[in-house]
Subunit: 214 residues, 2 copies
DNA sequence: CTAGAATACGAACGATCGTGCTAACTTGTC
DNA sequence: GACAAGTTAGCACGATCGTTCGTATTCTAG
């Protein structure tokens, strides 16, 4: 199954970096930034604290990015790569499209349970924080959410084509409802600390899909 | 229909305030704080900007609260009152419990559409921002979310008692799914700016309730 | 091996943050 | 009308914010 990728924003041309240690530092910074941002917030995460956290000087870290906004945009793409590795990729090669949808949703719940990001789903946190602040970061977040829904949508359409799901279902509507349960599970899990919300998400998704069978 | 109220946190005993102008100022501050917090964030909203916004001095405003955390807690309760007025109250006096559930969900969507809070649902925004920061604010947010789900839950149970909904449905599970669609609609509405997400929430809720009929 | 570029650091900037202190004023009570 | 208490403003504090600059160090292409 070939899902669309969360490719990096097409605009930024890499300023042909040269040294290997710089590349490594940059990756270390972005990985820490993605994970810390779910706890402190993508805006709330300060460059000084991020630098302290990875044992680097503030100015040394800052030199890798032209501005905090550049750092945030790069962090978004890094988080998207992590999400792809932890959720999208493991849910490929399902026996049937419908099984693939369940695998994808289970992979999402597992990604929450395993605390891939310590503060829950990166995109749920970042979108809620920045959805009121116009600019390239918000736009990119909207783009990533559309890609994610597109992945769910195409899998629903495939399950309809294979005869597993009712063709009368609107794929985008079903994708909306599935993601609603996943995100609600995330919210409860992070806020209340127990896994009941994750269980509800798993159960709700299964019964919703059962109701959509032909 | 008597829903539980979002009463103020029981712990804080009002320090018997005395003058009418002070009470008025406090109300003005908290109303502005609740609405601004959905745009700038409850933590991101600074006392200086809030003071500027309502034409008051920073220290004059600050004197009403012992700390920023106190201001945030008071803002939570003010937002809960606004929510009660705009969502809970209008959805009372429904002909049947099931109609009441639909009225409640529609009132929620309307509260988003009318931009009662300019940055979308106050509690969705605040919960996503503060769910990783332990303390009284996070705890109170969790409490308010449980109250809200309790309201939905009790209405589901009432609809089961009246014979409108299948008694086999678990009320808490159905409340979870309904709120999931409402919050997903909120997220799409604020992030993308169009009302398609709200429409999807309305539609999904109606068909989910239809599926739960006896 | 060397030259030049990439990388990292320390220090400092102006701005803004939450939080106190003090003094002027308004209000409500006897 | 006086006095106590509540309200507001001005000012300043230490801390932290994003950002810039000059400089020392380290890698790598030739």
């Amino acid at each position: 199954m070939s899902d669309a990728d969360f490719g990096p924003a097409s605009s930024v041309a890499a300023p042909r970096r040269r040294r290997a240690d710089g590349e490594r530092s940059r990756a270390t910074i972005l990985d820490a930034a993605a994970r810390l941002a779910t706890v402190e917030g993508l805006d709330g995460l300060s460059i000084g604290r991020l630098a302290d956290h990875i044992g680097m000087s503030k100015s040394g870290l800052y030199a890798h990015f032209g501005s905090k906004e550049d750092l945030q945009l790069a962090t978004l793409d890094t988080a998207a790569e992590i999400f792809t590795d932890e959720v999208i990729r493991p849910a490929r090669q399902a026996e049937t499209p419908l099984v693939g949808i369940i695998a994808l949703c289970d992979a999402f719940v597992s990604y929450l349970e395993r605390k891939v990001f310590p503060g829950g789903c990166f995109f749920a946190a970042a979108a809620a924080e920045l959805d009121t602040q116009p600019g390239p970061v918000k736009e990119r977040l909207g783009e990533l959410l559309r890609i994610w829904h597109g992945i769910l949508e195409r899998r629903v359409a495939a399950a309809q084509a294979s005869g597993e799901l009712d063709p009368a279902e609107e794929p985008a509507q079903l994708a909306f409802e599935l993601d609603g349960m996943l995100k609600m599970g995330n919210a409860l899990f992070v806020l209340q600390g127990d896994t009941l919300g994750l269980e509800r998400a798993r159960r709700g998704i299964r019964s919703r899909l059962a109701a959509a069978r032909v």
